[in-house]
């Protein structure tokens, strides 16, 4: 099977989805990325990336029940697949391999 290396945004989305757990839908995923990554997130961009990840089999989604605080609109819950977990690990391995032997990066965070 071909290796699937993730972009930084895809990696953040998958990690945020795992951190949020069973209640992972657009709002908490975006909030988790904003909180941990310190970057402003466009919710539509999260959905675009999640759609792409779902097409590649790295996440699955299921539509929940409509809720009144959302104007009667349902949530779409996401879950990382085993293939998604593999992609995260492969990307981590590739990044770590690049990290090693770079003198400027020795000695912990700046």
């Amino acid at each position: 099977m071909a290796r699937h290396l993730l972009t930084d945004f895809e990696l953040m989305i998958l990690l945020a989805t795992l951190r949020v757990g069973d209640a992972a839908y657009g709002v908490p995923i975006a909030a988790e990325i904003e909180r941990t990554g310190g970057r402003r997130v466009v919710v539509a961009a999260v959905y675009t990336a999640l759609d792409r990840l779902e097409r590649n089999g790295l996440v699955t989604s299921a539509v929940g029940e409509p809720t009144p605080e959302r104007g009667g609109r349902a949530k779409r819950f996401f879950q990382v697949t085993p293939q998604g977990l593999r992609a995260i690990k492969e990307t981590q391995r590739a990044l770590m391999a690049l990290w090693k032997g770079v003198p400027q990066l020795k000695g912990g965070p700046v």
Partner: protein, 156 residues
Amino acid sequence: MRRGMSALALWLLTHLAHRNEPLAGDLLEQFRVSRSVLWLWSQLLLAIALGSFRQSRTPAALNLSQLDPVVLEWLVDRKLAPRQVSMGSPGQGVGGLGMMLIGFLLSSVVPDVWYFVMGGIVGGVGLGVTLAYLRRLKPMATDGQIHTGQLKDLFA
């Protein structure tokens, strides 16, 4: 003013919601809990720009899968169904209108290019018409590509 802006944004969101319910619900939920009108507008406009509220990835007129099977069969029988023709288009999905738009944009930056663009359009239409005429006389290759033999016939 702020009330009017939020009312307009919510109206727009409500009208687009059926095209992407989960996204519309997320924006609405966040706006009601903690976000500003400016945040809602920026998210809404970026979502529209990203195509998140598009009804379908395929334009309705080109989506043959949604046609009635009887109509589709009629189209195929009549050989009117679209065929893939590669004529060195600079990008996949760039059709005639796309090429005209590129020509217009190029002409607005470098006006002198217009003569070349017009020449290209006239030449392209001429070649297309001639090939269509030839195709009536002699069937096109099955893979839909234009082969050198057919061009030789054209200029013989």
